[in-house]
């Protein structure tokens, strides 16, 4: 079985301050992990992915995430928020064996204040 939990439904930060969006997962198989972003009335865009190579993954737009197996976490961070980062973020887990089923987290809405 597998699941993904995004610990915050909403996060609000000021422009220029760090961003932390938290994600914990559970998987019976070695997972691939992804973060997607969805801007209002836009499609899903892949931010970054963990594929069992480096545990610290760098993505687009200055985002990065660290895979911590001991904590079953894959938190998304960015050193300095920009107004354009305001969007919905989804943490996604996919097993790399044992059958294919992708699970989406409930999403975290990021608000960025000027």
């Amino acid at each position: 079985a597998q699941s993904v939990t995004q610990l915050d439904s909403h996060v609000s930060v000021s422009e220029g301050t760090p961003v932390l969006l938290r994600c914990n997962y559970s998987s019976s198989y070695s997972p691939s992990l992804f973060w997607y972003v969805q801007h209002p009335n836009k499609g899903l865009q892949l931010l970054l992915k963990y594929t069992s190579a480096a545990t610290l993954v760098k993505g687009i737009n200055g985002f990065e995430a660290e895979f911590k197996k001991s904590e079953t976490s894959f938190h998304l961070t960015k050193p300095s928020a920009h107004m354009s980062d305001a969007a919905e973020y989804f943490c996604v887990v996919t097993p790399r064996s044992g059958g294919f089923k992708t699970i989406f987290g409930a999403g975290t809405r990021l608000f960025v204040k000027a």
């Binding site: 899903l44 989804f90 996919t94 790399r96 989406f104």
Partner: protein, 116 residues
């Protein structure tokens, strides 16, 4: 990577009618997926569509309500039948990248459906 297009991009429909959503991919893919995103919610997998076989539906979704066709390796349709306002959602198709080891999915832009 794969480029996915969907038609229509949005529609407003009357209760009791049906709408067919088309998904076109720019390359041949084995597996295609259909998701629903209800207002303010995350994505929920409706079904997996393999070419040449019946679609596999997730719990809570049935073929009579969401019939799927997969006539070839680049195209699929999802029909939302006998619609009610509860079917108002964004419907997305996606494909997987099995050439890579990590099963990345690529998503279409979605079809925004409003049922009155």
């Amino acid at each position: 990577s794969a480029v996915i297009s969907q038609k229509p991009s949005r529609d407003i429909c009357q209760r009791g009618t049906s709408l067919t959503i088309q998904c076109q991919v720019d390359s041949q893919v084995t597996m295609m997926f259909w998701y629903r995103q209800q207002p303010g919610q995350s994505l929920t997998l409706i079904a997996t569509a393999n070419q040449g076989s019946e679609a596999t539906y997730e719990s809570g979704f049935v073929i009579d309500k969401f019939p799927i066709s997969r006539p070839n390796l680049t195209f699929s349709t999802l029909t939302v039948s006998n619609m009610s306002p509860e079917d108002s959602s964004i419907y997305l198709c996606s494909v997987e990248d099995r050439l890579a080891s990590y099963n990345e999915q690529f998503f279409g832009p979605g079809t925004r459906l409003t049922v009155l």
